[in-house]
Point group: C2
């Protein structure tokens, strides 16, 4: 899960729980697929299977939007597509700027999933003057100097940050100052924003680290079958064993193998 809202303790906006909102796009995608196959109606069971969730959860989610189903029949696909789209605000056009057109930024610019859902790339912005004017995904790169004017001229309220970590907060500040109130952050940094601004982050390396944890656990469980509690290989911090704070237990290369790959980010 590369997600995680910043600020606001999962306030249910207008009665719709945050967790439900996060699933609506999932339902929408499944419904859209059904719509293309001209399927007229779906049961909660079918749709839940397609979206990979529990059917009771799905029904409860929809109940927050209203009573859009028909008992004994199911949900009208087209109608539901429209309702969810409207609820998510996809019936209107959202101009978006992408700041930082490196490998990732360029990939985002070329990503079809954005344009196809009512999101329109208003501009691609990069700080490198040498790149200015270059075409990416059919759009000319604009220089960071123009950031404020681009945002104001196009009424942009959503910004995507794909810069290196070091530049992210500065870019963020400028975006917010210029009027952006929603930010999708791909830079591996914690962004600080004023109240009223939503930040969602997508962190590729964090996702892998979480997978690594579970992967290690799986491997560990197998090992435990033969030798339980091989868990404290070289650092059992028995309260009494570490009274020297400055020299505590250093990584101590050995036993567990090599030193962790500690590097920037």
């Amino acid at each position: 899960m590369a997600t995680g809202r910043t600020h606001r303790p999962a306030t249910r906006s207008r009665g719709i729980p945050e967790a439900t909102v996060a699933r609506l796009p999932l339902y929408l995608r499944a419904l859209t697929a059904l719509s293309e196959r001209s399927v007229p109606t779906v049961s909660s069971e079918e749709l839940a299977a397609a979206a990979g969730v529990n059917s009771a959860k799905l029904r409860k989610d929809f109940s927050y939007l209203g009573s859009y189903g028909t008992r004994g029949v199911g949900y009208d696909v087209e109608y539901l597509v429209y309702q969810i789209s409207r609820e998510l605000g996809l019936t209107q056009d959202w101009p978006v700027v992408i700041v930082g057109i490196g490998n990732l930024g360029a990939a985002l610019a070329n990503y079809g999933g954005f344009a196809s859902r009512g999101f329109r790339i208003a501009a691609l912005i990069d700080a490198d003057p040498a790149m200015t004017g270059k075409m990416v995904a059919g759009l000319p790169l604009r220089h960071t100097d123009e950031l404020e004017s681009i945002i104001e001229d196009n009424g942009v309220s959503i910004g995507v940050i794909a810069t290196p970590a070091g530049a992210a907060q500065q870019v963020c500040n400028r975006l917010v100052e210029a009027g952006v109130t929603s930010i999708l952050n791909f830079a591996p940094t914690v962004l600080t924003v004023p109240d009223g601004v939503d930040v969602r982050k997508v962190d590729l390396s964090i996702e892998l680290q979480i997978l690594a944890f579970h992967e290690q656990r799986k491997a560990g469980e197998e090992a435990d079958l033969a030798q339980p509690d091989t868990d404290a290989p070289a650092a059992p911090p028995a309260a009494t064993a570490r009274t020297v704070p400055a020299e505590k237990r250093r990584p101590e290369p050995g036993s567990d193998g090599d030193i962790p790959a500690v590097m920037p980010a």
Copy 2:
């Protein structure tokens, strides 16, 4: 939040809550930054601020790992970096394959955040024969035919899927069949996997849709100040008003504007 574990109801693996695991990489990053600045110790308050979380939450998170702090002083940075790295399994090398080297796959291959944390790209795999052998990020593209042998030869247990949605499930099946037990999915599809396999998904368009929801809500709240309940513009499904299921309430272009951008994905 481009996140979302599939399967398993947030089981706390080995006593460490899933939510805590998801934050450990965040702490690790903050600690690494401190380590580079040669800061010897941090208080939970400082570190929490750097990681963007509540300090009580951070302390509780660390308490699951053990008692690694010193009261009145704080946490030893180096020591904690090591402990978290070990807990996350970053003290070992994880070979990873990336399948689907389009814009996004190439960006991932070039992303430094992977290699720097103990993740080594074992191979880049693409289905297009014309691409085979081409160099990306210093590695030669391999053809999908080699997928199984690559995984077995390198002992790969983590796979990254960056293919189009249509190919994702097939690729997933082959990965799992070949021995991969953790998958990071960038394709906009729900993957079905057997028990014991972890899937995390990163979905760029879903993140934007969630932001759009909140953005719309913000705009709506302002409007409500002048005219409350401008909420049911064209579809108040009063149970009695819609008895014809097949013809229910069509998007009905008008009133709300245009038809939602319903498209593939």
